[in-house]
Symmetry: C2
Subunit: 447 residues, 2 copies
C-alpha cells in the first residue's frame, strides 16, 4: 500500500522528557523543564524542524508520591501552560502551541477566553488538550475531598466543550468594523448571546474576545477509555495516545476512525498521534547504548512511585520480587491501569520489574539510526497505525537537536514530512478546515 | 516640604485608552487595544521610559450595555491578562507586568500558579491586581444568577489572598538542589503542605511550581470602599485609585497610610498610585486643543451607557436635560456610584452633562506642557497626595510616545524619577523588600 499522506509531528515537551533519569544524563540541562530560555531555544529548534506543535501536558497538583520518589522528580516544578505558551508564541512564528486545560477544575468562560487570546496573540497557533484530569490529588486543591467519578467527568467534559465552542462563536468573523468616520467599532448584529443552560453549566456569554484566528483553536484529546474515545471521535481534531506497538496502534486507529465513520465525520478530520520515545544513534549499537545509559540514572524509588500512580494504588509495601496481586478498582485512569495489569499478567513481571519499566519510560520507543526510525514512522503511517507521532525526547537539548538534524531530513527525503510550513496556522499544518461559525454565515472577504 | 521620595509610574494599558473617542483620534490605531504587535511596541516604549509597570485592567464579561453604546465600544474585544502579559514578558526585560485576577470567579490554586509562572518566566516582574469583580454581568458567565454581595466578596477575597500567598510559600527558596551526582532533585524537607480549610476554600497544596522570583509577586488593589481600603492596608503592596483632585488624593492617602500605621506596617510598604489622564502639548493651548478634539469623537450613546454602568442603574430612559433623581441602592461599585452622585449634586449637572463627562474621561487629568505636568506630579508627591501615578494615555501610539519623550525627561531632570532601572524585579522598582517565606527561614546564598 502506498500513501500520499504525510506525518504530523508534535513534540511532547512537558515534561521535556518523560524519562525520570533524563536530567542526570551527561550534557543534559537538569533544569530543562523549568527554564524559559532553554524552552524558548527548544521551541525554536522544533520550529526549524517544521514540527506541527509544541505540546504541554499538565497536572493540577504535586502528585502525592512517596518522599523517596518526590525528591528525585525533575518535573515537580513546572510552568503553567497558558503563561509558558504565550511567552513562547512571542519567540516563535509558525509552530502550533498546545496547552492542557481541565474540564473538571476550570470554568468554560475562562478556558474559552484564554485559548482565544493565545490564538490571537500567536496568529492562529493555539491548541487545547482537553483533559478531565485523572489525577485525584487535584481534587484536594479545588475544594473537593473525593475525586469526581470517571463517567461524570466525561459528561461534564462534553458539555464543557459545547459551551467553549459556543463561546468561541460569539462574534461573527466580520463583526469588528472599526469605522473611524462613523464611529461604529462593532456591528451589534454580529454578536450572539449563547445563554447556555445545561446540566453542569449556566453561561450567558458573549465571550469578551473576537472569534479566534482559527475559528476554533485545534482541540486535542488524550483519553483512551471507551468514554474518552467516543468524546474524541465526536469532538477532537487530534488524539494523543499511548500505544505500546504497531498492532495495538492499528487497533486503536481503526477503532477511533471507525467511530468517525459512524458519526459521518470524514476520517481525515481527526489526526491520531501516538507518543513515541525516540533515541537516535549513528548506529543501532550507539542508540542502544544511549538508552541503556539513560536507564542507569533511574532510581528504584521513582519506579515504585510511578507504578503506584499508574495503578491508582500504593504498591510500595508489596514484596518487590512477588507478582502483582489483584488490585482493587479505583478512580485512576482506566487505560493506564489496564496497560500495566496486562503486562504483569502476560509477561509474569514482578513488582520490581514493573517498577523499573515504569520508572524510566515504558511505552512505544524507536531506538536506532535515523533511517531505522524513519522506517518505523513510515510503516506506522502506511499501515494506518497513526497519522504521525507525539515525539518524546530522551534528554535535552541533545535529544531535540538529534531528531531535528538527523531524523527530520530523512523523513523529508522520503516525502513523508514537510520541508516548509505551507500554512500559517496550526489548523493549516494539520490540514484541517477552519470551522464555520454555528451562529453566523461565513464572512465575505473580511476576517 | 522637601522630599527624597521619587515617583512610581504605572501605565494603565487595558484599555489602552479609557477615553471612548481615542480610537477615532487622527493618527491613532483603531485596534490598539487588540493588536499584539502594537502592544509589544507600547510596552517597549514604556520600558524605554523606565516605567515601573504595564497594567491591565480586566472584565469577565462583555458589559451589558445598550446596543447603541456597544457598537461604539473600542474595548469590547480584548486580550486575556495572563496570555498577553506572558507574551509581553518575552519582548521586554525590566518593566513590571500587572494583571487583574478575580477572587470571586477564579480558584486560588490557579491564580497562585499562574502568577508564579509569569513571575518565573519574566524574571520577577509579575504583579497581581486583586479584584473582587464589581461588574454583575460576570456572575452570569459563571453559573450565578445574582452577583455575590459586596461584603461577602471582600471576606472571600481576604481568604483567597491568604491561600494564594500560602501556596506561593509552598517551597523554600533553596528547595531545588538538582544534584546530578546523587540524583536528588528536590529537598523533601523544604516543601510545605498548606492544607488550608477555611470558610470559602479548602486547598491542600503544595503548589506545583517553585517559589516566585519575587517571593510573592507584587499585590495591587484598587477597591476604594471601606472594605476595599482595609483589605488593601492589610495586604497590598500598591493601590491604584481614582481621585478627582489633589485634596481628595491627600485625604485618601492619609486614610490608607493611617490604616497602615494602625496595623504596624511601615508607610512605605504600600505605594498609592492614582490614575492620571495626561495630555501633553508644546503649549497649554495645544494640549487643550488636543483634549477638546478628542472629546468631539465621543458619542452621546457611549456617555449614557457609561453613566448607567457607573450608577449601577439604567438611566437611558431619563430626561437628558433633567437633573439626576435619587437612584436606588445597587450592588455596583460603591465608590464609583458615590462619585457620580456627588458631582451631580454639587454641580447641579443634568443627565446629558453627566453622560458627556462620563463618556469621554472624567477623572483626574493633567493637560499642559511637560513642565506643567511635571509640576503637578511633583506637587502630588511632595504634598503626599500619592507615591506616583497610574498614567492613562489619551490615544495611542502618540500619547505614550509624547509622555516618554517629553514628560519623563522633565521628571528625571528634577530628580523625582529614575534614569535607569536600579533593580531587576518589579518589587525592586517599587523599593519593596522580598517577603520572607512564612514556613521556612531565609535561604543562605541560594535562590
Amino acid at each position: 500500500m502506498t500513501s500520499t499522506r504525510r506525518l504530523h509531528l508534535g513534540a511532547f515537551m512537558r515534561p521535556v522528557s518523560l524519562h525520570t533519569g533524563s536530567w542526570r544524563y551527561p550534557g543534559a540541562y537538569p533544569d530543562a523543564n523549568f527554564n524559559f530560555a532553554h524552552l524558548a531555544r527548544f521551541a525554536q529548534t522544533l520550529e526549524r524542524g517544521r514540527f506541527d506543535a509544541f505540546f504541554m501536558a499538565d497536572h493540577l497538583a504535586v502528585l502525592n508520591m512517596p518522599v523517596n520518589a518526590l525528591k528525585r522528580s525533575h518535573t515537580v516544578t513546572s510552568f503553567e501552560p497558558f503563561t509558558l505558551l504565550s511567552a513562547l508564541s512571542a519567540v516563535t512564528g509558525r509552530i502550533g502551541l498546545v496547552g492542557t486545560a481541565s474540564t473538571t477544575f476550570d470554568e468554560p468562560y475562562h478556558v474559552a477566553r484564554r485559548f482565544a487570546s493565545l490564538d490571537h496573540i500567536s496568529g492562529g497557533r493555539a491548541g487545547w488538550n482537553l483533559v478531565t484530569t485523572a489525577n485525584p490529588d487535584s481534587a484536594l486543591n479545588f475544594g473537593l475531598d473525593e475525586h469526581v467519578e470517571h463517567g461524570e467527568r466525561y459528561r461534564r467534559a462534553r458539555e464543557f466543550y459545547d459551551v467553549v465552542t459556543g463561546l468561541w462563536d460569539s462574534w461573527s468573523d466580520d463583526a469588528f468594523v472599526r469605522d473611524v468616520e462613523s464611529g461604529i467599532f462593532v456591528d451589534p448584529e454580529k454578536v450572539h448571546v449563547l445563554d447556555h443552560k445545561g446540566e453542569h453549566f449556566r453561561v450567558r456569554g458573549p465571550l469578551n474576545i473576537a472569534r479566534p484566528v482559527q475559528g476554533w483553536p485545534v482541540v486535542v484529546q488524550a483519553g483512551s477509555s471507551e468514554a474518552g474515545r467516543q468524546v474524541a471521535a465526536e469532538t477532537a481534531d487530534a488524539v494523543f495516545t499511548a500505544q505500546p506497538n504497531l498492532e495495538a496502534g492499528k487497533r486503536f486507529y481503526a477503532d477511533v476512525k471507525g467511530r468517525l465513520d459512524k458519526l459521518g465525520r470524514p476520517r481525515e478530520h481527526l489526526k491520531i498521534l501516538p507518543g513515541a520515545f525516540v533515541v537516535v544513534g549513528d548506529s543501532l549499537e550507539e542508540a542502544r547504548e544511549k538508552r541503556a545509559l539513560l536507564d542507569t540514572f533511574v532510581h528504584y524509588d521513582s519506579g515504585i512511585a510511578s507504578l503506584s500512580i499508574a495503578l491508582g494504588h500504593d504498591v510500595s509495601g508489596f514484596d518487590p520480587d512477588g507478582l502483582l496481586p489483584d488490585i482493587p478498582e479505583s478512580n485512576a485512569s482506566k487505560s493506564s491501569r489496564e496497560r500495566v495489569v496486562n503486562w504483569a499478567r502476560a509477561e509474569q513481571l514482578t513488582i520490581r520489574q514493573l517498577a523499573q519499566r515504569l520508572g524510566g519510560y515504558s511505552g512505544l520507543e524507536m531506538v536506532g539510526t535515523p533511517a531505522m526510525i524513519a522506517d518505523q514512522m513510515e510503516q506506522w503511517l502506511v499501515e494506518e497505525g497513526s497519522d504521525g507521532f507525539n515525539v518524546m525526547f530522551p534528554y535535552l537539548p541533545a535529544g531535540v537537536d538529534e531528531f531535528v538534524d538527523k531524523v527530520v531530513p530523512e523523513l523529508q527525503r522520503r516525502g513523508i514530512f514537510r520541508r516548509e510550513y505551507e500554512g500559517s496556522t496550526f489548523r493549516e499544518h494539520l490540514g484541517l478546515a477552519r470551522p464555520e461559525n454555528r451562529f453566523f454565515a461565513a464572512a465575505q472577504g473580511r476576517r
